[in-house]
Amino acid sequence: MSTTADTDAAAPGEHPPARRARPLPPRAEQVSARDRWLPIGIAVASTVVVFGGLARVITASPTWPAIRAQFFDVDEMLAALPQVWAGFLVNMRIWAVSLVLIAVAGLGVAILRSLPGPWMAPVRVAAVVYVDLLRGMPALLLVLLFGLGVPALDIPGLPSGRLFWGTTALVLGYAAYTSDVYRAGMQAVHDGQRAAAKSLGLTEWQILRHAIVPQAIRNVTPALLNLAVALQKDVALLSVIGVREAVREAQIYTSRTFNFSSMVTATLLFLLATVPLARFTDRVARRDQERRLQRTR
């Protein structure tokens, strides 16, 4: 490729290092139609083949018509919608309330666990025991224990609602997880931040409040949002103790009509709520990633 845009007009010896012509920028890549469309074509075709094939296999099954009538009857699905929707609103309420409680309780436990000094040893031990126990227990078991066990104790002065105790079980279980996420976020804050805060004379508590915790929360926001998505589904666990949320309502509908399409209705409602939240989480995580990259530039 020859470039003649910059000619060396200077007389020899006048400007000693003769400036070499600058090579032109690379031309915009010329993609042939084949190179552009072939990958897209392959992607579409393979997707159609795989999922179409799967659909063919399923619908070709001799029991498919029966299954379709049992699970995917659109009329039944719509008929169940009002009842399931009412239950779903209960899910969303439980979810919203638990979310706030978990975010606060988890942070509280994480902070308790990070308090220094010998006097705080019992607090730290209690926090560790709490996290280890509650994180190790299946959420379903927690819900059963609290939702059925505690009201059965019949202790005067304690609320006895299953909704209340079921929600408590979720909050306790998730707060244990969440506290560990916060703790990781706090540990990820660079030591220099603590040194700087200490050198300025901040108390241990002020160091947490002004230097460590705000950065920790920023560090773990994507992880927390992931837990929020998981929690949304786990609210359905309260159906086992009789809380009339979406799954429970769908079951009730099913037991009346002997048709499972209401379950699909519930499934679709859950997806409707979790998928956008998951997309949002991805976006936050990506922004977080970009921020970090920029910082360590």
């Binding site: 700087a196 200490k198 050198s199 300025l200 004379g201 002020q206 950065q215 910082r295």
Partner: protein, 252 residues
């Protein structure tokens, strides 16, 4: 420095271990009021540790450090008295990334020393302007260049009007073209009479700004004296070897 006056800062036989590793080995050093002492020495010789002992970021095992004749762990300082009077600036700036420049600077005056907001902010703006940072008060650290961040860190350290400023390799993390601005700020502080202990690898700067240079090796102060003597004509073989290495690395 006359023997009759109490030095601003006296480091007296300070010894410190990390576990069983000796990091400071009977360090003696007096810093007079308005004096600038530069600490030089190889990596791991204990320079940072010494600074961190002076403002009690690190505890030490033996010896005393006195500010105006009062031991730094004297109860009369209270919890925050020493932090107000001895400030430190770190190599990595350590600004709080989630706070604006102004909030970084006013955090200690407001939360630790209970100045009211207007007063703290007025003082902050004054200092920012003096260090050529006016207009950056509302920015976040990550929006600034390294040199600007380090100058903000200096402002943050100055915000409580300390008597002594400790600087730990404050230009080491900066791109070469940003070093000059920060060093100019330190020169101005010296002209204003600030007492400073400066850890630096910039020998030319040390020669220029220091009243005395102290060479640390293996946790001991091997040689201390005026920069012209210590840097040009050291008496100790270890100082000579160190300076030789620096010259070979092209940093003198």
């Amino acid at each position: 420095m006359s023997a009759a006056t109490v030095p601003k800062l006296r480091v007296d036989d300070v010894t410190k271990y990390y576990g069983s590793t000796l990091v400071l080995d009977g360090v003696d050093l007096d810093v007079a009021d308005h004096e600038v002492v530069c600490l030089i020495g190889a990596s791991g010789s204990g320079k940072s540790t010494l600074l961190r002992c002076v403002n009690r970021l690190e505890p030490f095992d033996h010896g005393r450090i006195m500010l105006d004749g009062v031991s730094v762990d004297d109860p009369s300082f209270g919890r925050t008295g020493l932090c107000r009077r001895v400030a430190i600036v770190f190599q990595a700036f350590n600004l709080f990334p989630h706070k604006t420049v102004l909030d970084n600077v006013t955090l200690a005056p407001r939360r630790v020393h209970r100045r009211d907001r207007a007063e703290a902010e007025a003082r902050a703006h004054e200092l920012l302007e003096r260090l050529g940072l006016d207009g950056l008060a509302a920015k976040y650290p990550e929006q600034l260049s390294g040199g600007q961040q380090q100058r903000v860190a200096v402002v943050r350290a100055l915000a409580t009007d300390p008597d002594v400023l400790l600087l730990d390799e404050v230009t080491a993390a900066l791109d070469p073209e940003l070093v000059g601005g920060v060093l100019d700020v330190i020169r101005d502080l010296k002209a204003g009479g600030m007492t400073m202990m400066i850890v630096t690898h910039e020998m030319a700067f040390a020669r220029d700004v220091a009243d005395r240079v102290a060479f640390l090796d293996g946790g001991r102060i091997v040689e201390v004296g005026p920069p012209d003597r210590v840097l040009r004509d050291p008496t100790e073989p270890r100082t000579r070897a160190f300076l030789q290495r620096i010259i070979e690395a092209g940093r003198l």
